[in-house]
């Protein structure tokens, strides 16, 4: 089976730091246009798309994936023409030194520079670069030259080539363009029951998008589709790996902000088992996502999360398994059908 990596590649290449999701939104609107009965953009920028199935849903289901990615925001232009910045979302500053970035709407190239190794004291060599020493260099030689190209508030995104090789994918922003691609994939299929698809903004900075999208849609149930930390890497013991690449999508029973609907959690695992789809429980209470605000929207929304295991989640190049992506697509389709097909008990 050949999945459409071309779409995922374009989604990952689109630049969309939290609050600046325009490029991603345009791409998604264009892509889903032919498959949705109706699409709307909410005041904060969420895309909400309605798709009819063969039958009316017994449970009004919203599937959600977030459009935004972690990145940087320029805070000040220094006298030397360098850019100071803040992290937008949970970036580990350890991965910044030496990276290429694109700054602002005009995508001005730059780099995150550090002191050369030849001029470091021994203890500096071993320590991570202090956050206050980091800056971006766009090649400006003066403050004026920099200010003509960028302004405080401009976002900066990582640059990284999309790679599909050896059964894995690596790219920036797989969290959560992989989720967006899975939702779009589902929209392109024939659905048994009506469903609402929400592509949300600002997940990485507190889920203001999902909060307002859930209010607008008013669903009975929700499936949050995201990418989650896979720490199955050398030096992390088995108990702290959260989930593993190649073992299928991870289903959460609980994270730092949400206790998931127990029945749906069981349903997801059981469905996968019955259909022979690889699937794993997320084996740690870590992270949080749009579910945190969706499940407490209005009078409450029964919520489940299906996550794609992703190594190096908030770094310039995440790594996911192509097999896990396919399995997540299959599981989502079945889960949506089972949830939407059943009448709500209350």
């Amino acid at each position: 089976m050949m999945a459409n990596w071309e779409l995922l590649k374009r989604l990952c290449a689109a630049r969309g730091v939290s609050g600046r999701e325009d490029e991603v939104r345009e791409l998604i609107l264009k892509e889903i246009g032919p498959y949705a009965e109706k699409t709307e953009v909410t005041p904060l920028g969420n895309v909400i798309a309605f798709k009819s199935g063969e039958k009316r849903a017994g449970t009004k289901l919203m599937l959600a994936a977030h459009m935004d990615e972690v990145g940087l925001a320029v805070t000040r232009v220094t006298d030397e023409g360098l850019l100071k910045f803040s992290c937008v979302g949970g970036i580990d500053p350890n991965v910044l030194p030496g990276r290429q970035v694109l700054v602002g709407k005009r995508a001005v190239p730059g780099v995150a520079g550090v002191k050369p190794i030849h001029m470091l004291k021994k203890d500096e060599m071993e320590k991570r670069v202090p956050a206050e020493e980091l800056y971006l260099d766009i090649g400006a030689l003066t403050k004026e030259e920099a200010e003509a190209a960028v302004s405080p508030g401009d976002e900066a995104t990582f640059v990284s080539r999309f790679c599909a090789q050896n059964g894995v994918l690596s790219a920036k922003a797989l969290d959560d363009r992989a989720g967006c691609a899975l939702l779009i994939g589902l929209m392109k299929k024939r659905l048994k029951y009506d469903a609402v698809f929400a592509f949300t903004v600002q997940e990485e900075v507190g889920s203001a998008g999902a909060r307002t999208a859930a209010f607008a849609v008013e669903p009975d149930a929700a499936v949050v589709v995201e990418a989650t930390t896979a720490a199955d890497v050398p030096g992390t013991d088995r108990n702290r790996q959260v989930c593993r690449l190649g073992d299928g999508p991870a289903v959460s029973f609980m994270d730092r902000r949400t206790v998931y609907d127990a029945e749906y959690y069981e349903l997801a695992l059981r469905t996968a088992e019955r259909e022979g789809i690889r699937c794993q429980p997320k084996q740690a209470v870590t992270g949080a996502n749009d579910a945190s605000v969706i499940h407490i929207s209005r009078a409450g929304v029964r919520t489940v999360a299906v996550s794609l295991p992703c190594r190096y989640l908030h770094a310039p190049a995440g790594v996911v398994s192509q097999e896990d992506f396919r399995a997540a697509g299959e599981l989502l389709a079945l889960l949506a059908e089972k949830i939407a097909g059943k009448a709500q008990r209350c």
């Binding site: 580990d92 550090v114 030689l141 790679c163 890497v233 770094a315």
Partner: protein, 337 residues
């Protein structure tokens, strides 16, 4: 400047980690006409020459190699164990996208432990040989693609920044390789009376062995080592630096020939080429140190291109400094007998 940029980018896109410089050598050789007789020697150094064959030889050296990583093993889950190859700055490694130069080019990512899992070591960056490269393969698959000894480079494309500044991994020392090629182009218009031997030497980042044997073979009357040096940037002492756009840095150090240095300075002033004096108390840390003590000794100078963020994948130079370095070298060679 556009042509120079394109040439520099072609050079930077070739891989050439220390001891494995053949791609970089091939890319540089392509920039010379057959009349310059580009050839490779036993240790992989590339040479090309212009000017009369029986005249005395002026050696211009720039090193071909760049820093990188080297695969040392494959673990039971297919992750690659690595070590540094040259003076790698470990702080730029976590999370970096890389290409493993195995049986084929294999994309990988250097592992980083998420901060919430790093615990007490969160402030430390592990040593390069404690980090691993993830190519997404099982051990068996990995063994079919990669062998210990394969080199690894950063997965970053050369890019134009504002003005005439550019960034690319390996500008140390491809910027100087480009300057030498540009110098050869200038000399094609106006041939020198001396014989100019362009030497693109190997293994500078691991000890300069290429320059040692290459310079012996060249047996030059004079030598100029062209390399990159520090450009002013935050956190470094300004007196140890040149400046982006400030022109070539002419070296003065005990090991170097003072008269040769002064002559370069005089020529820069005469030709209106911006320059700065780079004073070093001991050795120069360039191939100049090896060239100077070749055979019974060679009067040697260094000319350096200012560069920011040395030994990271984010190195930055100003194209004008490359062009001005080429001009200064050409002016010198046209005067040399």
């Amino acid at each position: 400047m556009e042509e120079l940029k394109q040439m520099l980018f072609r050079l930077c896109e070739a891989d050439g980690v220390s001891g494995d410089e053949s791609d970089a050598a091939a890319a540089a050789a392509k920039e010379f006409p057959p009349s310059a007789e580009p050839e490779t020697d036993r240790l992989g150094n590339l040479t090309a020459s212009v000017g009369p064959k029986n005249a005395k030889t002026v050696l211009l050296d720039a090193h071909l190699d760049q820093i990188g990583l080297i695969v040392t093993g494959i673990d039971k889950n297919g992750f690659l164990h690595v070590d540094k190859c040259g003076g790698m700055d470990r702080r730029v490694m976590p999370g970096a996208a890389v290409v493993v130069l195995g049986r084929e080019r294999v994309d990988g990512v250097i592992g980083s432990v998420p901060p919430h899992l790093a615990g007490a070591d969160a402030e430390k960056v592990p040593e390069p040989d404690r980090m691993t490269v993830d190519i997404g393969c099982s051990r068996k698959e990995a063994e079919g693609l990669v062998r210990p000894g394969d080199r690894i480079v950063f997965r970053a494309q050369p890019r134009a920044l504002l003005g005439t500044r550019v960034t690319a991994p390996g500008l140390d020392d491809r910027a100087s390789v480009a300057a030498l090629i540009r110098c050869a182009q200038l000399l094609a218009e106006k041939p020198p009376r001396c014989r100019v031997l362009f030497q693109f030497s190997t293994r500078e980042e691991v000890g300069g062995q290429g320059a040692v044997t290459g310079s012996y073979r060249a047996d030059p009357a004079q030598g100029i080592a062209v390399d990159v040096s520090f450009a002013r940037q935050p956190g470094v002492e300004p007196e140890k630096c040149g400046e982006l756009g400030g022109g070539p840095m002419v070296g003065f150090a005990p090991i170097l020939d003072r008269a040769l240095g002064e002559r370069l300075v005089r020529l820069a002033e005469k030709n209106g080429i911006p320059y700065s004096r780079e004073v070093m108390g001991g050795e120069t840390g360039t191939n100049g140190d090896a060239i100077a003590v070749t055979r019974s000794g060679v009067p040697t100078a260094t000319v350096s291109i200012p560069l920011r963020y040395m030994h990271t994948p984010a190195e930055v130079v100003d194209l004008r400094d490359i062009e001005n370095t080429a001009k200064l070298l050409a002016a010198y060679l046209l005067e040399a007998e």
